[in-house]
């Protein structure tokens, strides 16, 4: 069922990067996955032994544009997940 999955690269920033201990990772998700599904996958992968990943507090950019969590992701999307920006 390889053709039913895609591998995407995800970047993390700021406190989320610190909590996860990685700045980017590759994740395999089903095709037509949404941002929300990706966030749950990350929570499953990293969040098991910590309460640090509160999905509702996170923001997601796809191709450097902020998106809603129902956005469908594609294999060549640049995906970044981070806490709310705090400005300059």
């Amino acid at each position: 069922m390889r053709s039913q999955s895609i591998t995407i690269q995800v970047k993390f920033f700021a406190s989320l990067k610190e909590s996860l201990g990685v700045s980017q990772t590759n994740l395999t998700v089903p095709v037509e996955s949404t941002v929300d599904m990706l966030l749950r996958k990350i929570q499953d992968t990293y969040g098991k032994d910590s309460q640090l990943i509160d999905i509702s507090s996170l923001r997601v950019a796809v191709n450097q544009q902020m998106v809603e969590f129902d956005r469908v992701i594609r294999e060549d999307d640049e995906i970044a997940i981070f806490p709310p920006i705090t400005g300059g």
Partner: protein
């Protein structure tokens, strides 16, 4: 004309102002500059270090969008925005905005607008080290309300 840069290195108001002045013809009557400095004291304690993280590419785009909004709203001849990232200390320069216009009202309003939006819409995350404790900080309510005032 506009120029947006995000960099670790310090900047020189003098060099940027000189470059800006060289680009301007005799139309410019007003140049307003803003330099932001890291303060020793925040609302919650003494700051010994400030760390700014950015998202290369998206951060520059977020600032360019602010610049475009300013250009649409006022009659401007030149805008320069330089924002530093990485490790900073109290008294360090953190941000520079230079805006040139024919008449001073445009440059003043646009410079304040750019600063207010940088504080809320520019893609940065800040970590303060105060009294040996490092904390990721959030936008202040004051910043958000100043930024919202421009939306009326």
């Amino acid at each position: 004309m506009s120029s947006v840069r995000v960099q670790e290195e310090d900047f020189s108001l003098h060099d940027e102002w000189q470059a800006c002045r060289d680009r301007l013809a005799g139309n410019a009557g007003a140049v307003v500059s803003f330099v932001g400095l890291v303060r020793e004291r925040s609302n919650t304690g003494n700051v010994s270090r400030l760390y700014l993280e950015h998202y290369p590419g998206m951060t520059e785009t977020s600032i360019e969008q602010i610049v475009v909004k300013a250009q649409q709203r006022w009659s401007l001849l030149d805008i320069v925005v330089i924002h530093r990232v990485g490790e900073l200390q109290p008294e360090d320069q953190i941000v520079l905005v230079i805006i040139a216009s024919a008449h001073r009202a445009d440059a003043f309003a646009a410079c304040e607008f750019v600063m207010d939006l940088l504080k809320t819409e520019a893609v940065f995350w800040k970590k303060e080290t105060r009294d040996n404790e490092s904390v990721w900080i959030e936008s202040t309510l004051e910043d958000v309300s100043r930024s919202q005032e421009w939306q009326e």
